[in-house]
Symmetry: C2
Subunit: 446 residues, 2 copies
């Protein structure tokens, strides 16, 4: 097979959606999610296993009844910068909200990470799932879909413009001519758009990748459109094989429709997995995890996330799913809409909805190493993803995947046996974008 | 002497105010200011020499005629996070503007650095010297003094409130009771002030220092007032011995007037130095540096900084200093005001002003190691500073200070012979602030 599989590691810390009970596991440090040593150890293992990237999700909202993984977490860019100087090949993808950040600030921080890591930075653009974030940034209400996705697209455009402030040869640093900077190679942006006014230039030269890699996560019509226009990677939710196929084909088609090469957008799905010595042991472990994680209270809190941190505790669990459609618009219209529609057509109670939502999050990759490798190949060949975003509950389970599954993926010719490059772009097979001003000059000169 | 001297290292990269010509030095890498290796090497040397901290200044504005050190620089928090995992005792002080950042964003990033470094983070609060920053953040004009310093004070208050979101014992993580978080120990802020509305809580637990250390840099009436109210460290400009004494006494007096212990604000001055084998060699080296750095074009650009990046190139150098008092208000009223007043009373030309401004930036610490140690002791004993913020042009000069001057300071009983602590607070002799909610509960319980 000539298409290559990509693997990313998504370290949760303790807890997290689908990992609520993890802090109870005696093998896991209670403060893992704020212990840089925990992330460094995962990063080193991921690099040893030739993974493409470490992938850090983010949220900027909590309250006391929220899923525990959001209670206590390091900020992604400081986290990844620490990882940068302890690794050499691993990509470093950090999530940051375009809704609650200034483009100039984000442009600097990601470009700085790209310099520090020698060309391994990626930005996962999100519009902020957690509606309560608004109140930490001076707003009473989460911005609506159109505004959030409008800001997202304009942010990416502005930030890419800032990343091109300096042409590659802007600093001759030539003592003979007394010339440190060639001023013709420095370009202000003077952007004035619907959401942002940013003059530029950025005070940081082009980074080793030309520009950090743009990822995106968000599945609505607006989210897919954003991805097709500007993303080079996607963090996609997965779901059933058929759902993943539909999503994959849709994104590749949309990307091509924007005149882009569909090979230049890599779709990663959320992948679990649960690996054990035998299929039977893995299924048992899966059941154990499922029970550990899905106590009702936490599952309700997680369900509430799609409805603007809605608190379900006042509702009768065995009555029909409550009429809260008006709360879906702000946070996650797509996820919330699906829940409401299913509840209505199948006439489900709140308890049934919350249970099936937990089921939806189960990984397709459960079994002995050989079974998992085979399932991955089957899904990969079926056009469901370009990569998997893997998360492990313990270091033991990470090691089992690395030592058990990765060699089988390599034998099948699916996964690399050495890094192709020192940059994230290089390993993902993405082109280095030419500086726009250099390109324009070249074009003008014929 | 019982008062202890503190030393910080302020790595410039190439160029910088008073170091314009540094890129021409064959011993200095042309891309030093964006090479994390350059900073790591300085940090490791500073830690080896038992320095208190690495101090990173910042700016978010450039144009082609600006002092070169601002042309190309890493973002301070990503830089310091990388340094954090390569050092163990060194404090990590990063500059960030309260004018062009959201408090929630800054609170997270500094708290995250404090976790990653095990309690070594400091925030140098600035109101942004470079007026052009406004246009990178959607504004046409730099905010005025009152607004900038009003935001600075309110930012610090909000951020400290966010840093206290969790009490120290908020996470019992007790499987017996099924209790990860104790919800009574998590506190929303619900701040509504003149400049900011921030709900909180922060999604990051109290950091190893309780709170990162607050530094401040800015010398106007408003700047001094801010320092006296909230700062635990100051980056002060220095100047003559008499000027430094006046400033030192003034700050300590103001701090006491706010009911604070004046020992709990540590004043660092900008300290050069120029060290060589003999006094004569050091003076020669100083002259060489002075000539290398102070070509007229660059000195004019630097002078223009105090007047909102004003471009002096159209003015006759030998005519009286131009009437540009109206440009002083926005950028640096204090610095600009002094320049204008001196130009008027002494009837100076533009050339005379630019030359004397360069002279002002000369270090008092020039000579052989014994001379420098003696001068430091004299200034220290005269009540001019608690610490020095040192910058070196080359690694050779850094080594000469570390191997030549530091042992003499130790012999004189001025400087530590081992780290007192693993945290920046510990080494600076600053108390750990008690969580406000814990304190309130204790007070209520009598
Ligand atoms: C797989 C996946 C991962 C996501 N990760 C994050 C995240 O880490 N932080 C965040 O604020 N939002 C995250 N989002 C949320 C999106 O940015 C978006 O706000 C949300 O999905 C609602 O928009 P949509 O209807 O377009 O999906 C994620 C979404 C998906 C599908
Ligand atoms: C020693 C010193 C260092 C400073 N460092 C910075 C800096 O790194 N970045 C910045 O934007 N401003 C810096 N400032 C500027 C101040 O934040 C402030 O904007 C400026 O000095 C004007 O205010 P003032 O009149 O109160 O001094 C510094 C000021 C001083 C005196």
């Amino acid at each position: 097979m000539s298409r290559k599989l990509h693997l990313a590691l998504h370290p949760y810390g303790v807890g997290g959606p689908g990992q609520h009970g993890l802090w109870k596991d005696p093998r896991v440090a209670k403060d893992a999610s704020i212990d840089i040593g925990y992330y460094l150890r995962q990063a080193e293992a991921a690099e040893h296993a030739l993974f493409d990237a470490l992938f850090i999700v983010d949220s900027q909202f909590i309250n006391a009844t929220y899923p525990p993984h959001y209670l206590n977490r390091l900020e992604p860019l400081t986290l990844l910068s620490a990882v940068a100087v302890r690794t050499r090949h691993l990509g470093l993808v950090g999530t940051a909200s375009s809704t609650y950040n200034s483009p100039f600030n984000l442009a600097r921080r990601f470009a700085s990470l790209d310099h520090i890591s020698g060309g391994r930075a990626g930005w996962n653009v999100v519009t902020s799932f957690d509606t309560g974030t608004a109140r930490n940034y001076g707003l009473d209400e989460h911005l609506d879909y159109t505004t959030r996705y409008g800001r997202a697209l304009e942010s990416v455009e502005v930030i890419r413009g800032l990343w091109d402030s300096y042409e590659d040869d802007a600093f001759p640093a030539d003592p003979e001519r007394g010339l440190f900077l060639d001023p013709d190679k420095l370009h202000a942006l003077e952007h004035r758009g619907e959401h942002f006014k940013v003059a530029g230039p950025l005070n940081l030269s082009r980074s080793p990748q030309g520009q950090p890699v743009i990822f995106q996560a968000g599945v609505s019509e607006e989210g897919r459109d954003l991805a097709a226009r500007v993303a080079e990677g996607i963090y996609a939710p997965g779901g059933s094989l058929a759902q993943a196929q539909e999503y994959y084909a849709d994104i590749k088609r949309r990307t091509a429709a924007h005149g882009r090469d569909p090979e230049h957008i890599k779709i990663f799905i959320n992948g679990g997995p649960v690996v054990a010595a035998t299929d039977e042991a893995a299924r048992l472990r899966e059941r154990e995890i499922f029970e550990e994680d899905n106590d009702l209270e936490r599952s309700l809190a997680l369900l509430g996330r799609s409805f603007g941190a809605y608190d379900f505790t006042g509702h009768d669990l065995d009555a029909p799913f409550p009429d809260i459609a008006h709360l879906a618009e702000k946070g996650g219209r797509t996820a919330a809409g699906k829940i409401i529609e299913r509840a209505r057509t199948e006439n489900l109670t709140l308890r049934q909805v919350v249970t099936s939502a937990s089921e939806f999050r189960r990984s397709p990759f459960v079994g002995a190493p050989a079974t998992v490798a085979e399932t991955i190949e089957k899904w990969f060949a079926a056009g469901t993803f370009d990569g998997i975003n893997l998360a492990f509950r313990t270091f033991e389970e990470l090691d089992l995947f690395v030592d058990g599954v990765v060699p089988l993926l390599q034998e099948r010719g699916l996964f690399r046996t050495e890094y192709e490059a020192d940059t994230l772009r290089g390993n993902l097979g993405l082109p280095v974008p030419e500086n726009r001003h250099t390109a324009a000059r070249r074009a003008a000169q014929g």
